[in-house]
Symmetry: C2
Subunit: 307 residues, 2 copies
């Protein structure tokens, strides 16, 4: 198969060109390109979709520009609580973690859950105990500190407000990250990782670690990673919704994505988007917000885009 | 509308008639009947599907026979960690909690999340802090103590084993609980509540609090509450799968349920079942395990069954 490919996102939201500097735009594009090409090169070498998704997400988690891993936002207690999930389209195996602190690469722990436990979702301190069985890297709170994100938190700390990391002030361009891939063996995979919402409290968990909402992969249909207002993506079960529109309605990936995002999510009042690749290598990256950090690459083209 | 109705479950698993005593069977039937009729009488009075689902689940949570609320099993730390979720088919609003301890009625907190927060899923200690804003009842650990469940835990404590509360020894007939209803106003609702798996550790969360997997409701299609091997129900996104087979494939509730449980879940290797009611009042209660505690009632019939 030479129709292998990969698509990644770095979050969707109020991302306006008018509020972006050329330097910042270039920094995002460079980071997206690095994650994209890291994943794509693995696919070129014949590696699996799971390996490509993991590698691309690790690059995004290690970059402070995105709200995942190192760039995770502050919750109401001034902590960084992270969620991630992964799904293997060949076996329908899945792994996820939620509300875990100090993890360098949350996606790696989600993969351990998938590969080395009988469970799909582990949360909080329990997930950390599970991690102790493996070579999983933890970092001190200082590693996750970032002046911009700290300032975002200070602005709403102590209030009832919480927010996606993209604010209308334009100063706050961070985002959930995710990747989907089709490998040369015809297998699909999807993964998502996030630091959640700034000033989130009460142990709020969004769509990113939820199989069916934030992440879904099935070789028979497609691989999906979502981003945006998590509660709406959960109520719409968006990732699996795309797969079902293909499987049960016979839609193309493009039509299924458009119905799930432009019709369904929009009707509910949710903002967001997703990256998708189907079993034939078609890639779609729809969103109904002002922008979505996104990139895709296959044998025919290489796209890096924000608005 | 006089086609209103309700269906409830008290868990699915290895429930064998050969291992059941007449006394125990009668106790289960009495408890199921009480929950069923409590919900049904509310529907008769013109109350909402949400109110009927809540009331039925509260009866099941308060009964030590079922693995939810008072009857929650012991986790690896000897604690009772509970999960619950609710969904309103009219608005697609949803609320859920996971890994919360000492809650008398987990379903009530899930409803507070739906009605009084901008979130869908709250977990652990954070969810408890959220509960402090409301009149939510907590109980001491002693309230949740049960000799049988304690013995179940002792048998596998300190090992890597965990189990659904239905074991092959026949001594362990407990279960997740759930309810679905259609009210006289034409609105659907679904809810699920559980104590999870005996000896579960690492903060394991199953399908019960996951919208789309354990619980789903949409006035356009159906209301679903699942029970069984949670990890398989999560990977199959079973509750939403039934809805999608109706919405996108044009199937009846019966055919959609059968495909989701008998075909899809069985192919994956999962055990379990669900209770379902559609927007026309048709009720289905399929399962692929030996038994499922279940009951249903509408104007035409009243069913209470185990095997």
């Amino acid at each position: 198969m030479n129709n292998f490919g990969i698509a990644i996102h770095g979050g969707a939201g109020t991302i306006l060109k008018s509020l972006m500097t050329p330097e910042k735009e270039a920094a995002y594009q460079t980071a997206l390109a690095q994650a994209l090409d890291t994943g794509y090169e693995l696919l070129e070498q014949g590696k699996t979709a799971l390996e490509a998704v993991e590698a691309a997400i690790v690059v995004l988690e290690d970059c402070p520009l995105f709200n995942a891993g190192r760039g995770a936002v502050y919750n109401a207690n001034g902590q960084h609580e992270m969620d991630a999930s992964i799904m293997d389209g060949k076996t329908l195996d899945a792994g996820a973690i939620a509300a875990v602190r100090n993890l360098k690469n949350p996606i790696k722990l989600a993969i351990k859950v998938m590969e080395h436990s009988d469970h799909v979702l582990l949360i909080g301190e329990g997930a950390k105990e599970f991690a102790d069985q493996f070579e999983i890297s933890f970092e001190s709170d200082a590693y996750f500190h970032d002046a911009l994100r700290y300032e975002q938190w200070q602005e709403i700390k102590g209030t009832e407000k919480f927010q996606l990391d993209h604010s209308k002030s334009g100063k706050k361009n961070l985002g959930t990250v995710g990747a989907v891939a089709l490998d040369q063996h015809g297998n699909l995979a999807a993964g998502t990782s996030t630091g959640g919402m700034t000033n989130k409290k009460f142990g709020r968990v969004g769509d990113s670690p939820i199989i069916g909402s934030g992440t879904y992969a099935n070789n028979a249909t497609c691989a999906i990673s979502c981003t945006g207002s998590g509660e709406y993506l959960m109520r719409a079960v968006t990732a699996y919704d795309v797969s079902c529109r293909m499987a049960y309605k016979g839609l193309s990936l493009k039509d299924a994505c458009n119905e799930a995002i432009m019709d369904r999510l929009t009707e509910l009042g949710g903002d967001g988007g997703l990256v998708a690749i189907d079993h034939q290598g078609d890639i779609q990256m729809p969103y109904n917000s002002e922008g979505m950090y996104r990139a895709s690459r296959n044998a025919r083209e290489r796209i890096i885009a924000i608005y």
